[in-house]
Structure formats: structure tokens, C-alpha cells
Amino acid sequence: MKFSMRGFKEKLYRNVLSILAFSSLFFLGSIVLVLFKEGLPIFKKVNFFEFVWGRFWYPTYEPPEFGILPLLLASFQVTLGAMFVCVPLGIGSALYLNEIASFKQRKIMKSLVEILAMIPSIIYGFFGIAILVPFLQNLLNLPTGLCAFSASLVLGIMATPTVCSISEDALSYVPRSFKEASFALGANRWQTLVKVVIPAAGSGISSAVILGMSRVVGETMVVLMLAGGAAVIPKTFFEPVRPMTAAIAAEMGEVAMGSDHYHALFAIAIILFFITFVFNVIAESISRKYRLKLGLGQ
């Protein structure tokens, strides 16, 4: 009697847990479903090519134009700009922590970097708009400081701790014996770093960069506050732009539910979702291969 009761309970717990374990998949699937359900109707009005390649985003004009090329290019532009900041800074700092920092310094700095990676994006956006933008406007004598350049700079600083932290993990997985072998052949520390350690950790570092990129592309508050918001195809870094995330965040509050504009914003979200999805999948498969290569298992 006791046994059968016990056995029943065990099975029950197991089944309940196994159902709950699929919650992430359920949510991921629901997100995709919702995006498609709300986003696809726009393609009855404009075809996919016109949507992605259209040069004009005038969703509130009569007749409206739903071309997201300016938004896509703006996202691309600020991401590229941010990469110029966070890749050298992030990887450079990771190399510093791995190669130059003393054991104690490294331990403290790593924790510090991790803590800094937790600073919410609204803080970066706020810093940008309250301090950096007026400063840049004066310094560079710009018509407006709210431009792709400010957004890129702040996004880059924001992504640096992430890139640094993941790259440092990758560097620390490189077996000591690799370095020792190189030293034994008369290479100095810098040569060892460049010729042995970085190549060995290369795929780990590249997955850090891709994850950083994914974070930057999907970031909303910073670009919403700093990029300026003009939906025009960007020509230089010093004019206002409107990346995809900013368009969604700024316009969703004002659209009528079920309107073409509403569907168009969801369609942008589909594209955004798939860009980050692809980045994440690539980053994950690179880092898995990397760990397998170094014999670290999963």
C-alpha cells in the first residue's frame, strides 16, 4: 500500500517536472507564433521584397509606405559602430586579465566586469542623453548630438563587459601546456599570446563577439534615446537614425491595434528575432565545437 502510493507520487512528480521543463520551448514557440500571427498580415499589403528593400518608412502617411531599409541599415550601422568600440576594448581587456593581471587582480577585475555587465541599458541610455550627447554636440560642433555616433559609442561601452567576460572564459580554457610548449621554444609572452593562445581561443572569442553583436542589435533603450529617431537611410555617423528596435518601441505605443502599421511593427520584430536567433545559434555552435576541441565536453 505504502509502496504503491510512493510509486504513484514519484511518477506524478516526474511527469509534472517534465512538462514544466518544456516551458522555455513553449515560450520560445509562442513568441514565434505571436510574431508571425501579428506580423504576416502586412505582407498582404506590401510584398516581402518591398518591405525589406523599400527606401521609405512613412507608416502614418496617406497612403502609408512600409519600407524598412532605413531601419535595417540604421540597425546595421549602430551595430557596426558599437563593434568598433566593444571588440578591441572587450578582447583587449580579456587579454589583459588573462596575461598581465596578477592572480588577485584578475579575480577582482573579473567579478567587477561581471557586475558592470549587469548595469541596465536604461542607465547607459540616460547617461548618453544627459551627459554624452551635450558633450559631443559641443565638442564636435554637431547640429544634434542624438545620432548614430552617440548611440554606437554608448552601445559599444555597454557591450564591452559582456565581450570581455566571455572572451576571458575562452582564454582561460586554453590549456597551460600550450603556453609552456611555446615558451619552451623560446617564444616570449607576446608571441605566445598572439601565435598560440589567441588562435587556440579564437572560436571562443568569436562566439563572444557574436553574442555581443546579438545583444547590441536587440538593444532598445539606448538607441531609442540616443539615435535621434529619423527614419532615413543613414549616410554618415553624425546624423539621426532610427534602428529597428527604436522604431518598434517608439511607435507601438501610438498605433491602432490591428492596423497595417501595427502589423508592420510585428513584421520588423520577426526580422529582428531571426537576426538575433541566427547570431545565437552560430555563437552557440562555435562555442560548443570549441569546447569539444579542447576536450571540455558539453
Binding site: 505504502k2 509502496f3 510512493r6 510509486g7
Partner: protein
Amino acid sequence: MDMGTKEICKVSYFDSIKIRAEDINFFYGKKHALKDINLNILKNQVTAIIGPSGCGKTTFIRILNRMHELIPDALLTGRIFLDGQDILSSCIDPTEVRRRVGMVFQKPNPFPKSIFENVSYGLKVNGIRDKNFIEDKVVEALKKSALWDEVKDRLDDNALKLSGGQQQRLCIARCLAVKPEVILFDEPCASLDPISTAKIEELIVELKKNYTIIIVTHNMQQAARVSDYTAFFLLGELIEFGRTGDIFKSPQDKRTEDYITGRFG
């Protein structure tokens, strides 16, 4: 390989067989870890299982309380009888088997809880609620495991504060509290100093009055000191089984002799 049976028939201990392993074969994935093991374990005796590492001795005793079920991709054939009942049968509750066949592990593994909670744990998970009863059993178990005098004033201390040897005796007490019939020791002294080891060995000899004991060890002196019977395993096979004195003085098999005299392993 049914030497075990023969030996036992000769000494006519047949009625006091506590555990009987029949045709045990065990596979981890493709690895054939145990090959046709037939072995009888006698009641109220200490049986030592010796052999070089990787010979399957730990795997074997884990089967005796169905701990092998925790290993994924494992396959077991054969039967284990405990007092004549096939404990590998699917209609037997593994938790009941494990209550009857206790286990003490290589490294002391007390729960990160108080000393009292450690010993009472087994009683509680087996559905006992009566506080006074639990207290009596905890004290009894601690006394039997020769730990009572050292811990009676600090039963609420965290068990991790105890020394390694004390922790191991606590694990024995924890095991005794649920009143098992058989206790499996998996190299219980592997991580202990000589003084603690001596205490544990003394305890094992003491415990055999009330329990059937199986001890896995790679320390041959230990096997010689504590056990009545010895089984020698090599590469998943049971090579030889017999009275400890006989095995050590006049082994029948060349491989046993080589191992005991230290020629390999």
C-alpha cells in the same frame, strides 16, 4: 565459475546464505563490466571483495542494493536473491531493497546538515514520524558506530565540522539507523588516516554479530584483517572465492597468487 558454491557446500553453510548472485552480467554501453558472476554471501560474516581497480568490484556491490540503476545506458542480466527473494525483479521497490541493504561509500559523504539530522534522515524518509522513537534510534546508532562519546554534546553541529574518520563513522551510524540486514562498504577507508582506519576496521568486526557485511577494498592487509571470506575479481570475472585464510595462504588460481603477492595490480 561456481567455486563459491562448491566451497560452501563443503563447509555446509548452505542454510545461512544471505545473498546469492546468479549469472550476473553487466554492461556499461559496450563495456562488459561483469561476466557471469556467481557468488554466495554468508550471513553474519564479513566478505571482502578484492582486485585491481577497474575489475568490477564496486560495480558488483552496487548491484546488490540496486544502485546500478543510477547509471545511464547500463544493462544487467542475472538474478540476486536476498533471503531467497529476487531483488532485481521489477515488482520489488528499489527503495525497500536499499533500506535492507545499506551502503557506506568511499569518501565520507555526510549531508550538509546537523549530526542528528544525518542519522535521523533514513528514518524520516522511510515514513517514521514518532520523535521519541527517532531519538532513541539515533542514539543507538551513534553508540553502535562508536561515535556517541565524541558527539553526544553537539548533535546539532553541522556534520561537515567532524574529522574525516568521524564523518565516516557518522555515515555508518546513518546507515545503521534504518536497521539494514546487509551493509556494503565500498573502500570505506580509502580516504582515511591509519588511526581512523583502525577504528573503522574494529567497528566492522564488531558489527558482523548483527549484520552481514561486504567490504570492497584494494588493501589486502585490510581484507586479511577483517574478513572471513574473500572474493578475488579480475577484469569483470570472479576468479576465486573462499575462506580468507585459504585465499591468502594457498590460492588455487595462478592469477590470485600473482595479485596477492603483488606481481600486478
